[in-house]
């Protein structure tokens, strides 16, 4: 794997955008400006960016309730995302869906999903469509360690395996299913072990290492496009925030959180880019400032957008 300077900076900027998007979402939610629930992706940026960097137009993504990072990594519009979070008419779902239903079919983004593990069969279906049409597309499904206990995992991996579907199942193992530690909800530590039950490759990678995730996804996507079937990639990572904003996180220790913050995926990329001479400290600061401006513009756009009115109530509810 050799990435150009431009490509490295592009990936890094996406990670920074996710971080700043989520930090601002946390603040806006705490201020009562965002209705509903938000589940933030801070700390897991390397996984979304490392996987998405290997996808092309025409590929599909099934996301989760913690889906902001996935969409930003795919190239989603932060203005439309914030507008949706604010419940505005200009949002991705015209303000009717909120954080957990954001979808962008132009990007093959089948949507965040409020149901744990529900993206798995969607991705299997999308992968089937790609194979049926012969368009060389692939489908990626993100899911968590908690979701890996759902029957949908079995159904999706089994079908994907027997039909050799071009699917990549990405388990974001952040050690907790809501508030339940992994060892309390499953008797294995590596979700990748489950792959062997379906006769497909399963690997575990450091989900906080952008380049480890990138390489794993690159090879899995290559396999899928070449007709070699699905892959299960387990990315070991950690969410810095609670399961949802407002979660008191009494189920984990401050020491554990601090230990994972030391493995900050963004700082790790930054250090290597500095060592390689890809950018300087000043150029890094400029990236953070540029992203900050884009995020503020997104928030302003959302705040200045209208709310849906009564006439919109039944629009997009039923098929015409």
């Amino acid at each position: 794997m050799t990435l150009s300077k431009e490509r490295l900076l592009e990936l890094y900027k996406k990670m920074v955008t996710i971080r700043q998007f989520e930090e601002n979402a946390a603040e806006l939610f705490a201020n009562g400006e965002i209705p509903g629930f938000v589940h933030l992706y801070i700390g897991e940026e390397a996984t979304a960016v490392g996987v998405m960097a290997n996808l092309e137009a025409g590929d599909y993504i099934a996301s989760t309730h913690r889906g902001h990072g996935h969409l930003i990594a795919r190239g989603g519009d932060v203005k439309l995302m914030y507008a949706e979070l604010f419940g505005r008419k200009t949002g991705y779902c015209k303000g009717k869906g909120g954080s957990m239903h954001i979808a962008d079919m132009s990007l093959g983004f089948l949507g965040a999903n409020g149901i744990v593990g529900a993206g798995l069969p969607l991705a299997a279906g999308a992968a089937f469509a790609c194979k049926y049409r012969g368009d060389n597309g692939v489908a990626v499904c993100f899911f968590g360690d908690g979701a890996s206990n759902r029957g949908t995992l079995h159904e999706a991996l089994n079908l994907a395996s027997i039909w050799k579907l071009p699917a990549i199942f990405v388990c974001e193992n952040n050690m907790y299913g809501i508030s339940m530690r992994q060892e309390h909800h499953q008797n294995i530590k590596d979700v990748a072990d489950r792959a062997s039950a379906y006769g497909i490759p399963g690997i575990s990678v450091d989900g906080n290492d952008l380049f480890a995730v990138y390489e794993a996804a690159e090879e899995a996507v290559k396999r899928a496009r070449q007709g070699d079937g699905p892959t299960l990639i387990e990315c070991k990572t950690y969410r810095w925030r609670g399961h949802f904003e407002g979660d008191p996180t009494v189920y984990r220790t401050d020491e554990e959180l601090e230990a994972w913050k030391k493995k900050d995926p963004i700082k790790r990329v930054k250090k290597r880019l500095l060592d390689m001479g890809v950018f300087t400290e000043e150029e890094d600061m400029a990236i953070w400032e540029e992203v900050k401006k884009e995020i503020q513009e997104g928030i302003e756009f959302a705040k200045n957008s209208p709310l849906p009115d009564e006439a919109d109530l039944l629009e997009d509810v039923y098929c015409d």
Partner: protein
């Protein structure tokens, strides 16, 4: 759990003590080996932890049969030791004392290093490892002169031996109890020290490789085009990984005092090598020469990545200075076949 298990059988549970010494064996079983990207880029299999549990059971039974009295386990996140013991409660229940080492559990390489250091401090008679080259490299950093008995459970393994656990257990027990003399059973290996800006940053037991890579990433090596230079302690064409390149070029057994440095690049000399499971490639070699202990090889590629024993481990920046040095003071390793054969020749298996 272990304490309950022992208590149920009326065996008093001693505290770990220094000088546990002879007839005590340490076991370091790495639950993380066998799940890397070589399942995608090659045809490696998933080596699941349940099989490691079974191997540990067989090792324990082998050790007990030749008189091992105590076992000290590295605790691990999967609970390999706990599960192994849970499965030995029937007709094959163990009589030996069992305990866990008191180390902070991180789930990373640090666990194996901390366990090795503690086992060296306790002067156990032997350390059995379950893992790949990577696991043994970490253990070698901390185990001092305690004999290692490495059982292969990883992917590209040159250092550990693919061996039935029962036989490995017998050999470990024969060494730990002193029934087979260490001079007969063990040999000291070579190693390569990686010097980063003048300080010892890491070591390799088999090979250190300079890669024209940007990142550590998923750690494994499968792209021959990235390999610029190899410094190796051995070359074995019958093995998988970098050792197969060296072995195809100039066979170098572990008991040869020399090391070797190999330069790769466009050249007439071609070597057919098994870089990974099912991954056979033709590699072009520009030059090679043998090294004596103490010889140092400068790394002249920057930025680059240094891989040790088959895993990318060290990212080198533009301003870093790296040297690779062959040393003769590597770990002491049990020769399983020689040990068991010696025991047979001594009549240790003839009970009547």
């Amino acid at each position: 759990m272990i304490r309950k298990w022992i208590a149920k059988r009326g065996c008093p549970f001693p505290l770990i003590r220094k000088g546990a010494g002879m007839s005590t064996v340490g076991i370091i079983a790495n639950p993380a080996s066998g799940k890397d990207i070589r399942r995608l880029v090659a045809y490696a299999t998933v080596f699941d932890n349940i099989e490691k549990v079974n191997i540990v059971r067989r090792v324990l039974l082998g050790m007990e049969a030749v008189g091992v009295k105590r076992v000290l386990f590295m605790p691990d996140y999967f609970g390999i030791a706990r599960q192994a013991l849970d499965g030995l409660t029937g007709q094959d229940s163990l009589k030996m004392e069992v305990d866990y080492l008191d180390i902070p559990l991180t789930g990373g390489q640090e666990d194996s290093l901390a366990a090795a250091k503690l086992l060296a401090e306790y002067q156990v008679g032997c350390i059995v490892t379950l893992g790949g080259d990577g696991t043994n490299r970490i253990v070698a950093k901390g185990c001092g002169d305690i004999p290692l008995l490495p059982i292969s459970t990883g992917t590209n393994n040159v250092f550990p031996t693919m061996i039935e656990g029962t036989i490995a257990g017998l050999a470990a027990g024969l060494v730990a109890t002193g029934k087979v003399a260490r001079e007969v059973a063990t040999a000291r290996m070579k190693k390569i020290v990686i010097l980063l800006n003048g300080r010892e940053a890491d070591l390799a037991l088999v090979d250190a490789v300079v890669l024209e890579e940007q990142f550590i990433g998923s750690r494994a090596i499968w792209d021959k085009g990235k390999i610029k230079k190899i410094v190796a302690t051995r070359g074995e064409a019958a093995n998988i990984g970098i050792a197969s390149i060296v072995g195809g070029l100039h066979p170098l057994p572990p008991n040869d005092p020399h090391g070797i440095v190999v330069e790769l690049g466009p050249a007439k000399t071609k070597v057919l090598a098994a870089l990974g499971p099912g991954l056979i490639r033709t590699v072009s070699v520009v030059d090679y020469r043998l090294l004596n202990a103490g010889d140092t090889v400068a790394v002249d590629t920057a930025p680059c990545v240094i891989a040790v024993d088959g895993e990318r481990e060290l990212e080198v920046g533009l301003r870093d200075r790296v040297e690779l040095q062959l040393r003769s003071d590597g770990p002491v390793v049990v020769d399983i076949k020689r040990t068991v054969d010696a025991a047979a020749q001594q009549g240790l298996f003839r009970l009547t």
